[in-house]
């Protein structure tokens, strides 16, 4: 975005000054504005006309390269900029050239899959990612339809989606550094007119990638609808609130960590004000503050939605497009001054009886690297009670040597000392029950764990296996589908789902069977 802004300023500034750039046309400025506003079709036509009229001018060549970049034609970007100095067009040529070269490198072996309804072009590396491309298709098309209904906007041209093979590739195709990506846990971007998402196999334990795909698509829709005028807080609020639309209605159900942060913030009267979020969420003083801010904005959007529905959200976005600030637009749609909106929202939150969940802070982050030693899975240090910790540790040691029955006894002791409830111990014990063939006991323990940590695929996987073993294929498939949302490369999940689908006669049986075979081959 910054690139476009600069070129506009460069072009606009130069057009006021009689100088060597006097031949910069108003058309170039208009084209650049449309590109900046994600009005790609308009920009495309204008740039085509510009290039026809002035094929050799720096600005025409640059704009053509820019649109090529957005279309993913990286080689053409590089060839189109040949002969232009890096410093041309206010240094933008150099920046674009560099970005195109690294994007080309990151995607040079990519294959393409047009989505089933033609709204997306999904680019992916050959190999394991083939196992999730049909899922990407399904999720995005579902999101396209749902958001098209909700917000009334359906992008015309197919949208480019790049499924990147590594977190470091996200650094290659954007201006982020690897360190920033790993520190902030950034796993996807919507930028340059496309969606760039890191494949879950590039993270150690996976992540909620399907919601993430939809999250980025929401950004795309909002950016295009608003001509890129919506501020970050509203963008994020909308994306978070609507990211579940591929699988169902947006209920505003909060993740356990978000709920915990909000409950704590409300209780201690330490919420982040919207003033503090201005001009950027990145300016907030800490990661904890940022996490709270993101939780707040998603509930704000949920609150607005509850008052004025989908059409209300649409009006808010279009209001910003037409020149209002986000707060003013919201106030207008709700027919109340902003201060009152904010107060009412707080009241709404307080009345929602948000719970500060005991184990919410144990929710895991996206991991790009394996940790040291065997503590990735144990997490024993997080158990507060010393005796519970002791027995959990012993149980782990016993289980590691196949003494499952004894391990179960020790886990039970641990659970007693933990006051009868600890998601880590319960998850472990449910797995041990699974291994001992005590399926119902495994289910009893695993089921309540589903909502504790959205990043943890173990409880749904355990449930899937147990239910399949008990002959309940329908419920097994629901459980496996939940695990799939986090860890689609686990052959246990894909093969389990294939089996469950087969038993219920689901149309996606073949898809899962193919994925199961592929993952078993490339293991």
């Amino acid at each position: 975005m910054r690139l476009i802004l600069i070129i506009i300023l460069a072009l606009v500034a130069s057009s006021d000054v009689p100088s060597a750039q006097a031949n910069v046309s108003q058309e170039a400025v208009t084209a650049a504005r449309h590109l900046r506003a994600w009005q790609f079709e308009k920009a495309r036509k204008e740039i085509a006309a510009l290039v026809k009229a002035n094929p050799l001018s720096e600005e025409s060549r640059y704009l053509q390269a820019e649109i090529n970049f957005y279309d993913g034609r990286y080689k053409q970007v590089l060839s189109g900029l040949l002969g232009l100095k890096d410093s041309a067009v206010d240094e933008n040529v150099g920046a674009l050239r560099k970005l195109a070269a690294s994007s080309l490198q990151a995607t040079k072996t990519f294959l393409v899959h047009p989505s089933s309804e033609g709204h997306f072009q999904i680019y992916y590396a050959p190999g394991k990612d083939a196992a999730i491309v049909p899922l990407v298709d399904e999720v995005l098309e579902a999101a396209y339809e749902a958001l098209g209904n909700d917000l009334g906007h359906r992008p015309d041209a197919p949208i480019r989606v790049e499924l990147l093979g590594a977190a470091s590739d996200l650094a290659k195709v954007s201006t982020l550094t690897v360190k920033e990506i790993e520190t902030t846990g950034t796993i996807a971007l919507c930028k340059y007119g496309k969606l760039m998402v890191v494949t879950p196999r590039a993270t150690v334990f996976g992540y909620p990638w399907m919601d993430t795909l939809t999250h980025e698509y929401v950004h795309y829709v909002v950016t295009q609808m608003s001509h890129d005028t919506v501020p970050v807080w509203l963008h994020e609020g909308l994306a978070r609130y609507l990211q579940v639309r591929w699988r169902g209605p947006a209920t505003g159900k909060l993740g356990s960590l978000d709920e915990h942060l909000l409950a704590k913030g409300l209780k201690n009267d330490k919420m982040i004000s919207f003033d503090d979020m201005h001009p950027s969420m990145a300016k907030l003083p800490s990661q904890a503050a940022a996490a709270l801010a993101f939780a707040e904005v998603s509930t704000m959007v949920g609150y607005i939605h509850s008052k004025v529905g989908d059409s209300g959200l649409r009006k808010v976005i279009l209001g910003v497009k037409d020149g209002s600030s986000a707060r003013r637009s919201v106030a207008k749609v709700l027919s109340k001054p902003w201060k009152e909106v904010e107060r009412n929202w707080i009241t709404h939150l307080k009345s929602s009886r948000l719970q500060s969940k005991r184990f919410a802070e144990r929710s895991r982050q996206i991991r790009f690297r394996k940790g040291k030693g065997s503590d990735d899975n144990v997490g024993v240090h997080a158990i507060k009670n010393e005796k519970a910790k002791k027995y959990t540790r012993l149980a782990g040691m016993l289980r590691a040597r196949g003494h499952n029955a004894a391990a179960a006894i020790e886990y039970q002791k641990a659970l007693q000392y933990a006051g009868g409830s600890d998601p880590l111990i319960e998850a472990k014990l449910s797995r041990v029950y699974l291994e001992l063939g005590r399926y119902q006991d495994a289910i009893t323990l695993a089921e309540p764990l589903l909502d504790i940590d959205e990043m943890d695929p173990v409880p749904p996987t355990t449930l899937g296996i147990a239910r399949l073993a008990l002959g309940d294929a329908k419920k097994a498939s629901l459980a496996f589908e939940r695990a799939l949302r986090i860890t689609p490369f686990d052959s246990q999940v894909r093969c389990g789902l294939a089996q469950a689908y087969k038993q219920v006669g689901d149309k996606n049986t073949a898809r899962e069977r193919d994925a199961c075979e592929l993952l078993q081959q490339v293991r």
């Binding site: 590039a202 993270t203 690297r369 540790r393 012993l394 782990g396 040691m397 040597r401």
Partner: protein
């Protein structure tokens, strides 16, 4: 042709040519040198390499004849080998105890015979533990506390086995009802299980600790490699030598091997099962993003400066990892081994305070000295030219005299000393040019000491080993001494004593610093005493390292006090600095010694080119040699044995 033949005992041999003569060469003696890169040998603990020279002539009439030198052996002694074996045994014992625990938790409470089986198994473990305890005594890398722990563990286990045996015999004899048997056995099992659980966790903690200590040991080697690479890069920047580039590449390989070794070191006592699915691609990517690969790529592309910068980034990351490991160890010790950790931390804190306070004293003494030296320079400004003129003449004469000393008349020790002496004279000259008369005087004194050492050594040598060159050398050295004395006298005359130049404030401050130094030495003494107290456990050999370091530091402190008393800021500054440095080194040494870092075991096992020295290459350390010469002068031996005594001293120095 001369070849070096070497190989692992009983294994394949490798030949390396030292000298391949041209066809027309006719000679009956050849000299050659080979730098044998031991990194090629894949050295590992316990390996024995045999090597010898084989000479083959060029008889092409009756066929070449060959002969061999005697076979030499190179054995890599490694305490680490034994230590790792012991760790393996500890892991086995732990696994058996877990099996025992599993049995106990799930055993049928009504069955006496099943309990007998379990008890028998427990008795076997007691024997295993006993054997381990004995093995610890011979393992210098094992902590003393570890042996004690296992000993107690064995005793407890033995008691349990005995108690259970008695109970089982009783139950068998009495023939009780099943319910009663179950109750009795249940009670016994509950008690035994509780103790067994604690014992298993204790072993687990010790294994974890040893694992981290092992990793830190390798981390020390990584650090040494990093430092070496740093020096090599700097030298390459200066010289651009292609040999150095090869050396850099070799050292990178060494570093990579060590990092691989670290990565492969994982606990063989797994503490859990990983339930979450791990994406192997993410782990693969982590390896590929390896920092060192980037350094290698840059080197291969000829971008050496960029490679050096990248290496700095890698070094930083490695240092952070090492700190994190130290912190893990500290945290573990704090958590699980709290008594000795507490003791250790308290001592380290006190040591840190001492080092800081000593540094303050050194800094303040420095400041006094700076002012004194400046006053001298100012005072001498008018006389400077005159002083420089006279001392320059003496200095030139002295340098000329030293140049007349024939090198062939000197031993290798004296040659080294002469080089040092000449450098000191150069430094003296430079200081004189800068009007730094106080420093020049100090340097001239060091120079004279060196000269005297050379003269004394030559005199001693002449008694045993007459040679014309040695006679000439001794003569010139003897004649140079008065010149050195003259130089010192001229500088002394030119340099007013500190007491006449130092301001009253500085004088008073020096007096205060003397008292502070005294007090600091007294605190050091108390700390040393406390560490020496029995019953104050410390991890590894930390206590010993601290005691030795403190003793050395206190010597410097005492000398500093003496210089402060005689108002000599130059001498005081040097000693105070040395004391501060020593205390800093002691902290570092203690930290390493706390995890039994074995200097000799690791430092000698470096896969870098090592020259295997012959006997003639040994040189005793300088101070030791000076002491021996002094002792030799005093000790003539009993009547009739003076020659033997002289020979004795000479052999010591060699």
């Amino acid at each position: 042709m001369i070849e070096l033949v070497y190989g692992e005992k009983g294994g394949r041999q490798t030949r390396q040519s030292l000298h391949a003569p041209p066809p027309d060469e006719i000679t009956d003696s050849i000299q050659s040198k080979l730098l044998w890169d031991l990194a090629e040998l894949n050295l590992r603990p316990g390996i024995e390499i045999e090597y010898y020279l084989e000479v083959t002539d060029n008889d092409n009439v009756l066929g070449p004849n060959s002969t061999k030198s005697r076979v030499y052996k190179l054995r890599l002694f490694s305490p680490r080998e034994r230590h790792e074996e012991l760790i393996g045994r500890q892991e086995e014992v732990a696994a058996h105890m877990l099996e025992l625990l599993a049995g106990r938790l799930t055993v049928d409470r009504t069955s006496v015979s099943l309990h007998r089986d379990i008890s028998r198994f427990a008795a076997e473990i007691v024997v295993e533990l006993g054997s381990l305890v004995a093995a610890f005594k011979n393992d210098e890398l094992s902590q003393k506390a570890l042996a004690t722990t296992f000993e107690k563990l064995r005793d407890r286990m033995n008691t349990r086995v005995t108690r259970e045996e008695q109970l089982l015999s009783e139950l068998e004899k009495l023939g009780m009802a099943e319910e009663l048997v179950a109750r009795r056995l249940g009670d016994s099992d509950t008690k035994i299980v509780g103790e067994l659980e604690d014992d298993i966790l204790t072993i687990g903690d010790w294994l974890h600790r040893q694992e981290i200590e092992n990793l830190l040991g390798i981390s020390d080697e990584v650090k040494a490699s990093q430092e070496r690479l740093d020096k090599l890069f700097e030298e390459y920047k200066r010289t651009g030598s292609s040999e150095l580039l090869k050396e850099i590449e070799r050292e990178l390989r060494v570093l990579e091997k060590k990092l691989e070794e670290m990565a492969s070191q994982s606990s063989s006592m797994p503490e859990d099962v990983l339930d979450r699915f791990v994406n192997s691609d993410a782990l693969q990517q982590e390896q590929e993003a390896n920092c060192l690969s980037k350094v290698k790529d840059l080197l291969a592309a000829g971008e050496v400066l960029a490679a050096q910068e990248q290496m700095k980034t890698c070094s930083q990351a490695l240092d952070e990892s090492a700190s994190a490991l130290e912190e893990s160890l500290r945290s573990l010790r704090n958590d699980k081994f709290s008594e000795e950790e507490k003791e250790f931390q308290e001592a380290m804190d006190q040591l840190a305070d001492l080092a800081q306070d000593q540094q303050d004293i050194a800094d303040k003494t420095d400041q006094i000295y700076e002012r004194y030296a400046e006053s001298v320079s100012e005072l001498m400004r008018e006389k400077a030219e005159e002083v420089q003129k006279s001392t320059r003449i003496t200095l030139e004469k002295l340098k000329k005299k030293l140049q007349e000393i024939p090198r062939s008349g000197l031993s290798s020790f004296s040659k080294e000393e002469l080089e040092i002496l000449q450098q000191r004279l150069k430094d003296t000259e430079a200081m004189l040019k800068r009007n730094e008369f106080a420093e020049a005087l100090s340097m001239a004194r060091y120079a004279k000491r060196s000269l005297r050492t050379i003269r004394d050594e030559l005199q001693f040598t002449l008694d045993e080993d007459w040679s014309r060159d040695a006679v000439v050398a001794e003569k010139h050295a003897r004649e140079a001494l008065p010149l050195a004395r003259k130089l010192i006298d001229e500088l002394k005359e030119a340099t007013p004593p500190p007491s006449k130049i130092m301001s009253k404030d500085d004088s008073r401050q020096l007096e205060r610093l003397k008292r502070q130094q005294q007090s600091l030495r007294s605190r050091s003494k108390k700390l040393e005493k406390r560490i020496s107290e029995k019953g104050k456990p410390m991890p590894g050999k930390a206590g010993q390292a601290m005691r030795e370091g403190l003793k050395d530091a206190m010597k410097h402190m005492q000398r500093a006090e003496k210089q402060m008393r005689s108002r000599d800021p130059g001498g005081a500054r040097q000693e105070a600095r040395d004391a501060a440095q020593k205390l800093g080194e002691t902290r570092k040494a203690a930290q390493g010694a706390a995890r039994k870092r074995q200097k000799q075991g690791r430092a000698s096992w470096r896969d870098e080119p090592i020259r295997i020295p012959g006997a003639e290459d040994y040189k005793a350390p300088e101070e030791f040699r000076e002491e021996i010469l002094e002792a030799m002068k005093k000790d003539k031996g009993p009547a009739g044995f003076s020659e033997q005594v002289k020979r004795y001293y000479k052999e010591i120095m060699q």
